[in-house]
Amino acid sequence: MLRSDTGLSLTIAQIVQRLKGSSLHSQLERQARVSPLHRPEIKLESLKEDIKEFLKTSGRIVLTYLFLFICHIFQGSWEKRILKSLNSMCTELSIPLARKRPANEQKELLNKWNEMGTDEPDLSLFRPVYAPKDFLEVLMNLRNPNYDNGDQPSFRNHLGLIQVPLKIKDIPELKDYFSELDLNAGQLGIDDSTQVPPVLAEQDSAAAQQYVRQGCPTALRAELWALILNISNQSEDILYYEQLKSNVVQHDLLVDSLIYKDVKLTASNDDYYFVFEDYLYQVLLCFSRDTSVLEHFTYNSATPPKSYIRGKLGMEEYAVFYPPNVNFKIFILSVAPLCFLYHEPSKLYQIFREMYVRFFFRLHSISSHPSGIVSLCLLFETLLQTHLPQLFYHLGEIGAQPLRIAFKWMVRAFSGYLATDQLLLLWDRVLGYNSLEILAVLAAAVFAFRAVNLMEVTSLAAAEAVLADLSTLKVMPLLQIFLFATVT
């Protein structure tokens, strides 16, 4: 797993480079500046204590760096695993990772662009590359070696599946952070008057972000989200999309088959999303070729992992990049709700891409970011353990650790689990607060809501059954009760 020395130094250098602008880095800098060791007058008497003090505080920061490094390694190893799986699939099925389409095939695809769902390619041999629970297993193995958790009392007794010392908010902090959701503040429903708020007239993105914290009127949501995400669908954006589309037409990627398979599967199982099957193909096929997205997140290499069109090894213009993630079901579930709001393919694409780049990618990669999946898992477990200790303990005892059930909700940002109107209200808040933490809070709130039934179950299967159907839940009352009305 660890690379050779040169590889390691390169990796470290890259981490350092990447972290230079981050808050962690400035924390460390600040810490160093105010530490007693840097003051011109050092008192010998207190030196020992000062050093201890310094090590305590900076130590945590240093260890967090160490953890980040470990994240990096895990992410790298995770990505390697995915690539390996993809490669072996290619070999097994004798299908190239990428190939150029012959002219007649290109023409056919172009004609069928708006109804790709009518295709019925044989996808039986393609297996999913990984499932969310595989990812959860990886996260559960994420542990800081040699780290004495004793320093953080709140963490000392953490009994959850996630054992990493990331900083997360507690309920008082959450109450403050989500203050606009307070019980006394009006939350918009879905059928309210659509007086156009001034933020739209003034095209004020920051103010719009503030505005949507209390929910969007249905008729204005599309515009408000576009404003917050700074998507205007100018001609160059349309051109960009058309370029991606032509890439799809010209080249066939292995991952295309995975996309087809996942879309067909998801579409045929979900009454609400099946209607948008064609949109899903259009967006995802383009997305898998969008290198600007790929450049955004790679951790482990200066350039994203790539392959070459068969027969053109080494020729850069024939390079084709691996997409950041190959469990397309997750993508599908992120795109599908947007189809309720955006109907023009290039705009839909822009919105999805921006949402992915700002939020959803954090759900599929390992990082220490407060909106990253690791932090969300930790936040969820901590909230539950702190505020429903009996339930938490009971479920742990019967092998139904809450995270095992809640993980799939969070990793999909609840798409496919909530009713569409509720999901959109939830995502209003994701945009409004520019954070995914609300997913963890909602997950905890759901458990709290069904606590009575959950206390009576005696198996994981029974717990799953209690929590199988979230489609009748109303998101805002749940969140409000959990944050502001629960007696702690």
Partner: protein
């Protein structure tokens, strides 16, 4: 007992005084169907199923029984059955056409020109073969459009097909096309030719129709309830008119069957009507959508009014109708059909829940248990839409429909309170202004 029916009071808020009924110890029911309704009846507290020949207080019958037995079955005052004797005035395509035409003329005679104009929600229909020549005249006015041939009753024989050329139906007639005479004697006109809606509203390239439920507990005076839930039924295939050949297309052509408005409702997928409303509102804005739903209310009321004088309004009868509505690209709703026996078989778990709630609420309104006061405007998921006059959302004082502030008491496609209780959340208020205010209505 004095009934308000006999009094001269006839305002828009004529709440009929409930006749005194003794609450019964147990309610004996019979049920002709073996699906959701049977479950709902069996689970209803105090309701007991009776065997073949036993006496009953309530019968969920089928239309066959009705035809054969209604006329010579004595029913006590409290007894209820789920059909009106001659519901076919509403549900048979050739009859509803006649009734609507007659109603429209009546409105015109009364000087209600605007209201008469609002009767144009039924695609032009001609009975065949009696109105063949009228049909040909209309056909020649708009050459090239698509027509659909439908049997007047549920098809046992040929069924539905689309055509564009007269020669298609000439062939069809020659083909010994008349199916065997069906059981009820009305069968000289077997078919109707109807203008096919060629520009349906599409979602994801797919055509759909809406199924909406309307409960009528009385025709004289007219009392009708509209259910908030319903669904949009999508076609499996993307919509195209290319499937109509120049040749005569038969029922056996599955593609056509799928594009025909009344294909098997169990095929394809469904959206809850709330989902549909959400989608449209996000796309077109709330005002446009409210207009559409108001137009649908208009369809329900006008169809019921058009048969008010011909339906035998027996006090023992109630009926739950399934309306099939098609929306076109201009967001105009069209009536396809009214079903007196909408399917109660569930196609999925969610569907089962919807139909169970629908039927439970129906039984609440039928009120064998004599629990209602008669003043209710909402029972479960049903909103009182018409009570010898339009019913307004506003409480208390009268707003006449002419008044700009009248808002109909219908909430089709509006999400209602979840059936799960929210412990600790007892305040349900009107939506407050942004910022400080009461708990938002939408929050519940």
């Amino acid at each position: 007992r004095v009934s308000l029916q006999n009094s001269s009071y006839k305002g828009p808020y004529c709440y009929q005084k409930l006749k005194e009924r003794e609450p019964r110890a147990s309610i004996r029911f019979k049920c002709a169907l073996a699906n959701t309704i049977l479950d709902v009846l069996r689970q209803r507290p105090g309701w007991v199923e009776v065997k073949e020949e036993g006496e009953w207080d309530f019968y969920w019958c089928d239309v066959r029984w009705l035809q054969e037995n209604f006329d010579h079955t004595y029913m006590d005052e409290h007894v209820r059955i789920c059909h009106f004797r001659n519901h076919y005035e509403l549900t048979r395509k050739n009859y509803i056409v006649k009734n609507l035409k007659r109603f429209r003329k009546q409105l015109e005679r009364e000087g209600a020109k605007q209201e008469a104009a609002r009767c144009d929600f039924f695609p032009k229909t001609f009975e065949m073969p009696s109105e063949y020549h009228l049909f040909v005249e209309e056909f020649r006015k708009s050459p090239g459009i698509t027509w659909i041939m439908k049997p007047v009753a549920r098809s046992q024989g040929r069924g539905i097909f689309l055509f564009r050329k007269l020669k298609d139906i000439i062939d069809w007639r020659k083909d010994g096309a008349r199916p065997d005479d069906q059981r009820d004697e009305i069968q000289v006109e077997n078919y109707v030719a109807q203008r096919y809606i060629e520009n349906p509203y599409l979602i994801g390239g797919r055509k759909f129709d809406l199924r909406v439920y309307v409960l009528v507990t009385s025709y004289i005076p007219l009392k009708a309830w509209l259910y908030r839930d319903g669904f949009a039924r999508f076609s499996n295939t993307r919509f195209t008119l290319n499937c109509i050949d120049d040749q005569y297309v038969h029922l056996t052509n599955v593609a056509v069957q799928k594009t025909a408005p009344d294909y098997d409702p169990e095929k394809g997928c469904k959206w809850m009507i709330q989902q549909f409303r959400l989608y449209l509102t996000a796309k077109h804005g709330a005002e446009v959508v409210e207009l559409l739903f108001a137009e649908m209310d208009n369809i329900f009321i006008k169809t019921l009014q058009s048969v008010q004088k011909v339906i035998i309004s027996d006090k023992h009868c109630f009926e739950l109708y399934g309306y099939d509505i098609l929306v076109d690209q201009d967001l105009k709703p069209w009536l396809l059909e009214v079903n007196a026996s909408p399917s109660l078989t569930a196609s999925s778990q969610e569907d089962y829940k919807l139909k169970s709630r629908l039927l439970e609420d129906t039984l609440h309104i039928v009120d064998m248990e004599a629990r209602l006061t008669g003043k209710e405007k909402r029972v479960g998921g049903f909103d009182l839409m018409w009570n010898d006059g339009p019913v307004s959302r506003a409480d208390g004082n009268v707003d006449s429909p002419g008044n700009g502030s009248f808002m109909a008491n219908t909430h089709l496609g509006i999400w209602t309170q979840t059936r799960e209780s929210h412990p600790g959340l007892s305040r349900v208020g009107r939506l407050g202004p942004r910022g400080k205010g009461e708990l938002g209505r939408g929050a519940i």
